[in-house]
Symmetry: C2
Subunit: 157 residues, 2 copies
Amino acid sequence: MPDPAELERDLRTAGLRVTRPRLAVLDAVHTHPHLDTEALIGAARTRLASISHQAVYDVLRVLTDTGLVRRIQPQGSVARYEARVGDNHHHLVCRGCGAIVDVDCTVGAASCLTPSDDVGFAVDEAEVVFWGRCPNCAADHPTATPPSPPDVQRGRP
Amino acid sequence: MPDPAELERDLRTAGLRVTRPRLAVLDAVHTHPHLDTEALIGAARTRLASISHQAVYDVLRVLTDTGLVRRIQPQGSVARYEARVGDNHHHLVCRGCGAIVDVDCTVGAASCLTPSDDVGFAVDEAEVVFWGRCPNCAADHPTATPPSPPDVQRGRP
DNA sequence: GCCTCTTTCTTGACTGCTTCAAGGGAGCGG
DNA sequence: CCGCTCCCTTGAAGCAGTCAAGAAAGAGGC
């Protein structure tokens, strides 16, 4: 759980006004990475009981636009948010339960960021998602062939 | 444009019944990679005028479940489909217009498929998306800083 | 500390992609 | 050609996310 003063500083540094809803949401994202919006609404309400649906959506948009949080959205999942930004890490997603785990960049920033042929594109980011089954889900279906593309719906991390 | 007999064979090999709607959709996906569902409905209707909305959704699901087509969904975009499967290629997405281009695997299957620490996950696929600006969009805003995360909405390829 | 301006939050309704459900119709094996 | 099963059509609903108008709360100057 991050220091409230630090969150406030982050907001000001980003040129944003400091409001209770923003602190509540930003704290929630720091404390619970990879939650979806609905779960974040719940988490934010433990900090500020009366915050509205819409405020959380607005705040999340502002925070992603300013780079304070990062939005991720694996196939078949709704949008999820995390506060770890600026370090080019990637994600491991379980096809069974939807759990998301951070992984550091596999092969180093350089080769990770360079497609073999960029056909003239100015590439500024490489997003990598590793799909598989977490230890629990792999144990549940030891011999089952993994469902082809994702059957993830809304697994809770 | 693929050979109809070949599409039919693909369907049978996958254990699926051969129907006109399935042929129409499969042909459309082969002919126009990276289209979204709505555009595919249009493309399929040039082949089979009366195919319904719902049939296209159903067929696309069956085809993705059996691995005949692949579903991709970059951040901020609706679902898109392509018929190039089984070769572990990746995608380059333009933040400006949403254009999607195939790129071959950057660093070879091995390192591409291996996170630095898989924390016990059985990983079976690595999905890579390169974000940037296509030559046209880069020319439109030569000095503009690229909008942080995607502002893609529904660019037509 | 107070005032004013601007930004942001609340409330409520709505959009658009995708899915669910029921019944008629078409493919496929015999 | 017959019958069984699966598939497609029609119509409607679900749900994440967005739009809009007005009230409330920051931020800076007096």
